[in-house]
Amino acid sequence: MTQHTKPPQTPAEEALVRSYGDVVGRLHGTPEITRNRDDAIEMIKASGLPTRRNEYWHYTDLRTRLRSFAGVAARPDRNVAVEAVNPREKLVDATRLPMFNGHYFTDLADNLPVGLDVQAFSDNADGGCDVSAWVPDLKNEDFIGTLNAAFFRDGLKIRLEENAVLERPVRITNMMVGETPAFSAVRHLVSIGKCAKATFIQRNAAPLQSANQTNAVTRLDIGEGAEVLWFVVHEGGKDAVDLSQIRVSLATDAKLTLYIMNAGGKLVRQEVIVDVAGEGADFQLRGVNLLAGDSHTDITMVVDHRVPDTTSTQIIRNVVLDRAQGVFQGQIRVYREAQKTDAKMACNTLLLSDEGGFSAKPELEIFADDVQCGHGATVTEIDSGYLFYLMSRGIPELEARGLLVKAFVAEIIEELDDDAFVEALENKLDNWFAENG
């Protein structure tokens, strides 16, 4: 056995441990929760930030990339929260469940539709709300879960009743307000009853120039025959860090379509861990990475097909400008029992700069013999034939290039058959191109 000398703590690691010490007395929870927090921070102290030597973090070496760790954000005054309306906040008309600096403001939430129940951890910290009952396996791979276990301040337990169909989407936001960059961690536990149907939007919002650091871990359990459309939108400021995770379990005939849109932030990693556990279940992932500046953006996905007759498709589209770097790690595991699995994965990158880059790492682990699985990754530039065609109709070169870049990602946005969402996401595309193009 090789003995590794433990490397010295980085400034970010030191700051992380210090932040915990500063705040631990003020974090909610029963003695058991506090014990879990302590275990998590001990784990982080012992292993440090994950590095490239850790396979799961190979393309996102957190030890070198995470240069600092901000202090834990305080609960803002109510009036500060009320005034902190971000113009980029509005995606579509929705039932709002607003958090500010990682704290839920029950009285600022919209009235809940019939069938939807929401409890905040902070209102039931004595154990009445079991948002904390789930503890991640503390291990170095799951740094995001471990960080969350140590620091989570608040979170929502959301339950949708059987057969409930929500007309309006539900929007869960965590808006960072205040002058100094700060860190916040939230955790949500969402369960969707049998045959229920709903759309959720989850996003972090912050002033454009801010260097906030955010962490969200969401567990989403989708019941038999239920259908969920879930959006994750990252639009952090130029120096923002977001390390988040969504863990999904799909029951028989359940369906999840997950749209991830990354259009901001300096360092972003979104982990997607999906357990396709019920026969007939279907998981769809669509990812749009709009990468510019010096940013580093990572979508890491693990999908387990455990039972027969399940399907999944993942399509990731990336536009890379400047010196931006992107990562997609997609792992599909098909268990021995999971016959007739149909799983497809594609990662397509439009590379518009010589200095940018994108790393795609598809992995298929298949233990069943009667399955259809495939993956493909492409990196392209703008097609000269397309460009010539558009220009031959009088569209000037820059405008034609803009149309083609937009088209590259719009293709997967237009799959949504909801006009309001298509329009909202295309507006986001336009905004991003206007700021970065």
């Binding site: 010539f388 109709r393 009088g394 000037p396 070169e397 149309l403 083609l404 719009a410 293709e411």
Partner: protein
């Protein structure tokens, strides 16, 4: 309107010379047909006129309205009134057809110093043009040319030509891939645009198209040069006898 003088051009990538001393003049109001065997440079000529940068002009000039267009990019040429109906219109996923039509129309208007058109007016014009070409508006809601049949693509090219109202129209084998009914509709679309201040260069393999779009002049292109020029009866002669005797005569 269009004057091609001693044009020489090669493929930029490998230096193969395709156009070798081509001379051709098309006057305002004229419909000129270009015929010629495979590989004679017909499609290359159409791309060069539209400004595709895969080709390098080594000698000669192209004058449009008396001015050289060699220094203009494809968008500038289009805004000046030049239009190429592609032999193989490209499918562009993700670009909605209507959005594309609006962008092209308004980009050209902007370049000419005209006011941009509002969406209702654009829709009205598109509807009118589509109905004259017997095209379904539902098709135009799809991404540009995606999933269109060969015939639908050709109709869509003529639809764009109607909307953009160019002065010099180059039609590259617009008849290929069309059945007889579609050929009729497309030809009628072209004929409706014939006017004393608009010229056409119709590139085709077959006399068939020229029965519908009757040309004022017919030019035979062979190995990158015009080797014979005549009236519409020249097309009939070629249909009957092939290119052999014309080529022999020129050699």
């Amino acid at each position: 309107m269009l004057e091609i003088k001693n044009l020489h051009a090669k493929i930029a990538e490998d230096g193969t010379e395709i156009i070798r001393g081509l001379d051709l003049t098309v006057k305002a109001g004229e419909v000129a047909a270009i015929m010629g065997p495979n590989g004679s440079g017909k499609s290359t000529l159409s791309y060069i006129l539209a400004g595709r940068d895969d080709y390098e002009i080594t000698e000669g000039d192209i004058l449009y309205d008396g001015k050289s267009i060699l220094g203009m990019d494809p968008a500038e040429r289009a805004a000046a009134g030049l239009f190429l109906a592609f032999q193989y219109p490209v499918e562009i996923p993700g670009v909605a057809t209507l959005e594309f039509l609006k962008t092209a129309l308004n980009a050209q208007r902007r370049a000419r110093g005209q006011d941009e058109l509002k969406i209702p007016e654009i829709l009205r014009r598109v509807k009118e043009a589509a109905s004259s070409l017997e095209m379904d508006m539902a098709m135009l809601k799809r991404p540009l040319n995606v999933g269109f049949s060969g015939g639908e693509k050709k109709r869509a090219e003529i639809l764009q030509m109607k909307l953009l109202e160019p002065k010099m129209c180059v039609l590259d084998e617009t008849d290929s891939g069309l059945d007889i009914d579609a050929l009729k509709v497309v030809s009628e679309g072209v004929n409706a645009l014939r006017s004393p201040d608009r010229a056409f260069l119709v590139i085709t393999h077959y006399q068939r198209l020229l029965e519908h779009i009757v040309p004022d002049s017919v030019h035979v292109l062979y190995r990158g040069r015009v080797i014979k020029t005549g009236g519409k009866e020249l097309a009939l002669h070629l249909e009957e006898h092939g290119y052999a005797d014309v080529i022999d005569e020129a050699a």
